[in-house]
Symmetry: C2
Subunit: 140 residues, 2 copies
């Protein structure tokens, strides 16, 4: 495995750890200033600060957050990382586990693009089932 | 790149070509007899023949089918291939382009598991917009 490839995978794994730490500063520190984040097919969010505004209320609302990686692979140049995961949003009164795949584009040690693919309808129904209205930071 | 890795990626690219050829025999020939196919979060389909029954009506209904790979990576052992794609279902009166990610598990040169992640609600709405009721082979 090349060093660049390993560095890219390590960055994405650390990004998941920052989510689990519910630390918005640590999350956005791994994003480029002009990052493009999209939960397909919802329109994208442009820029590190816009991502910070989206994620902060949700990281504060959740009691525990998990990113469980089922698969992670990168190209040899370390420019792209593809993942299969189950992300868990755990609250006092219940939890939502969302199966998804995500892709990360990387340059100069930062994430420049980040796209997630999941069934958003299922996610919203699961959140509603535990009395949560998914905020704009989760489903925009 | 290892031979096993390249073989795995080539298999998945050929699988896309079989879809584009709208050839159910060619598609299922790349699946193991006990393949598990799932369009997350819909329950999985078990077995090659069950997959054949699901896909055949849809491959016949569509005038043209495209699998455009935006990204494809495999592990060095060639056991797993992760993809980001746009799949297009093209009919006389319109088309639906579905952005998705898919993961393929491979053993002995055949696909043993195949999971797709997309927003199924958006896909159904797009199909309805061109007067198509998505069949069980597309959204089960």
């Amino acid at each position: 495995m090349t060093d660049m490839k390993q560095a890219a995978k390590s960055l994405v794994l650390a990004f998941g750890k920052a989510w689990e730490a519910r630390d918005p500063d640590a999350v956005v520190a791994m994003l480029s200033e002009s990052v493009v984040h999209q939960n397909i097919p919802i329109p994208p969010i442009h820029g590190r600060e816009a991502v910070r505004r989206f994620i902060t209320p949700n990281l504060r609302a959740v009691q525990e957050m998990r990113w469980v990686f089922k698969a992670i692979e990168a190209d040899d140049s370390g420019r792209v990382v593809l993942t299969e995961r189950v992300d868990s949003f755990i609250y006092e009164n219940g939890r939502v586990d969302i199966p998804l795949m995500g892709i990360f584009e990387i340059a100069d040690g930062l994430i420049t693009a980040w796209r997630e693919y999941a069934d958003i309808g299922q996610f919203v129904r699961d959140m509603q089932a535990i009395g949560r209205a998914p905020g704009p930071g989760l489903v925009q």
